[in-house]
């Protein structure tokens, strides 16, 4: 069989081979997607509805059969390079990374391998600029070193989406990290995770850290604002994306990294000093801290959730257990934050609203454990309604508390 034939097989497997079929009429395949409207062109809404309905039915069906195919793959038994071996390979990478050995970590990746951080899709992305290329790993690790980063290993485990018969085992390696910047702002350690592809020969072919940059925005935005005010002449030298806002793409050359190492302690000594321990927080400060805590909890939950793929998250009791665990911890952290007297009532009402949603989530977890999915669905509606009410309280960004599942 030639690679031409592989090409034809891939083309043949196209889930939507002919986009024109998305316009075909259907009678009974109605889904929630039909509620999506496109107000800019009302004359086309009917056609769009039909297209979306067909797409919905096609994709749901295809996802179902792909899941069946995955399960069939699982039944084929382990390959020559088992998942335990792959975990060991991934852990070797993590040890090198955590030890600050960027060169060693990069050397563990295949010559034609990939590395990317800060993007989910791997494609060019203006909104979330990526650090891409194995050759950038040492510099990226040096940048973390300049920020006096301490990484804490959260362990590696294979994802369910990497059955032994596949061309690669995909490991999910969690970590948390604190830096000069997080310490200065009393920000909790940032949770992240590497996805590490290990092929059948035990070679790492790709490493991705899709969440790193996005998650750090809460901290780095403060630093960036301070930098603009204090050392604007170095902004261009330190950021690859200078001029943009709310994203972090450090310039990874020696001059830039040296400045990060110079200015981070200076930042900690000035801005950080204003965040002295146990000082009551204003509503706004509480909001910033809450956003960080809830965001970190949400990321940690996503890590739990990704580890469970491709099992349907909606019908997997473990998802609900993880949701409760992460949410309760986040709520506990929020309650530990001191608040100034004048804002205490408002903060309390927010915390009560979170607790109300969480209580329904707990009931969902119980129902899920009993596989009573009808009750889960009912409770999900209630939770969504309470969450909406919570979010409408406004003023304090606790949108991601309690955490919730990715679809």
């Amino acid at each position: 069989m030639t690679l031409d034939q592989i090409d034809r097989m891939v083309r043949q497997a196209n889930p939507v081979p002919d986009p024109a079929t998305l316009d075909a009429p259907v009678a009974d395949h109605t889904t929630r997607s039909e509620a999506v409207t496109f107000e800019l062109r009302p004359r086309s809404n009917r056609r769009l509805f039909v297209a979306l309905a067909v797409a919905a039915s096609l994709v749901v069906g295809i996802l179902a059969v792909v899941q069946l195919a995955d399960r069939a793959d699982h039944a084929n038994g382990p390959g020559s390079f088992g998942s335990d071996d792959a975990v060991s390979v991934a852990e070797t990478f993590m040890r090198a990374w955590i030890a600050g050995d960027g060169i060693g970590a990069a050397a563990l990746i295949a010559d034609d391998g990939d590395f990317s951080a800060g993007t989910v899709s791997g494609s060019a992305n203006e909104s979330f600029p990526a650090v891409e290329g194995v050759e950038l790993i040492p510099a990226l690790r040096d940048w973390y070193g300049a920020l006096d980063a301490s990484f804490y290993d959260g362990g590696c485990e294979p994802t369910e989406s990497s059955p032994p018969s596949a061309s690669a085992t995909i490991l999910f390696c969690r970590y948390s990290v604190e830096t000069t910047l997080t310490r200065a702002l009393r920000h909790p350690p940032i949770n992240g995770a590497f996805s590490i592809w290990v092929d059948g020969d035990g070679i790492i072919t790709a490493v991705e850290d899709p969440l790193m940059i996005d998650v750090q925005a809460d901290v780095t935005d403060v630093f960036r604002t301070w930098l603009i005010a204090t050392h604007p002449e170095d902004l261009e030298r330190m950021y690859a994306d200078s001029g943009r806002v709310s994203t972090l793409t450090p310039r990874l050359d020696a001059a830039s990294i040296a400045r990060w190492g110079q200015y981070a302690p200076e930042f900690a000594g000035t801005v950080g000093a204003r965040h002295e321990q146990d000082r009551p927080l204003t509503r706004r400060e509480f909001g910033a801290r809450a956003r960080a805590i809830c965001g970190a909890a949400s990321i940690a939950f996503q890590a739990d959730y990704v580890g469970l793929e491709p099992n349907s998250p909606a019908t997997n009791p473990a998802v609900y257990d993880a949701l409760i665990r992460r949410s309760e911890r986040a709520l506990e952290q929020l309650r530990e934050l001191p608040v100034v007297d004048e804002d205490r009532t408002e903060v309390e009402s927010i915390l009560i609203a979170i607790e109300n949603v969480l209580e329904v989530d707990r009931q969902q977890a119980v129902a899920a454990a009993k596989e009573d999915w009808a009750l889960v669905r009912t409770l999900s509606s209630s939770a969504a309604e309470l969450a909406r009410e919570k979010n409408e309280l406004g003023g304090i960004d606790v949108f991601q508390c309690p955490v919730f599942s990715a679809g």
Binding site: D7, T31, A56, V60, V65, V120
Partner: protein, 188 residues
């Protein structure tokens, strides 16, 4: 005042032309990558971005790759979006207590297609995207290269390498290296 109305009409006309020409392609692009609900949302959001940035949208033949690029970003952002609880709820609705297989999909999907889909899904994300753009969106490699900020040679190489991996995954161990599937004509 008349001038403003003319400009408004021109913009609207341009957008409607864009929408009519490419809506289904963008919807298909999204439906090949994410769940049905997310695909429809992403398609709508892609055109919303196009509407807001209509002056930036290039003319044919670059408009469609541009929209694919926007859709890729929308899908990436969607993964991070703050509507996950709602999607979980939708997913529950869609699945019911037991997820039913779609009989139509079962009819049109052969066992081989399912195996190939599963194997494609397990490619590294960037390789997977390139393979999909090549085989499913049927974009020329030069266009893929422009979209992803790579050289055409790198795209060629990645497709070749991905197909070798697919061959191994699918149990085809004797795939020769001499016949790279480069720039094939789209099947009729």
């Amino acid at each position: 005042m008349k001038g403003v109305m003319d400009v408004s009409y021109d913009i609207r006309h341009r957008f409607e032309s864009l929408y009519d020409a490419h809506r289904l392609h963008v919807l298909a692009y999204c439906a090949r990558r994410v769940s049905a609900a997310d695909a429809s949302d992403a398609c709508a959001e892609t055109f919303l971005v196009a509407w807001r940035r209509i002056d930036d949208v290039p003319g044919p033949p670059k408009a469609l790759p541009y929209l694919y690029g926007v859709a890729a970003k929308v899908l990436a952002n969607q993964r991070r979006s703050a509507h996950r609880r709602a999607r979980l709820h939708e997913q529950l609705d869609a699945l019911g207590a037991v997820p039913p297989p779609d009989p139509c999909a079962v009819l049109v999907q052969t066992d081989q297609d399912r195996r190939v889909l599963a194997a494609v899904r397990r490619l590294k994300p960037r390789d997977r995207e390139i393979v999909m753009l090549h085989a499913w969106e049927q974009l020329p490699h030069e266009v893929i290269a422009q979209m992803l900020g790579m050289t055409k040679a790198a795209v060629d190489q990645r497709i070749h390498r991905s197909y070798e991996r697919l061959a191994r995954t699918l149990g085809v161990t004797d795939a020769p290296n001499t016949t790279p599937p480069l720039e094939m004509e789209a099947p009729a």
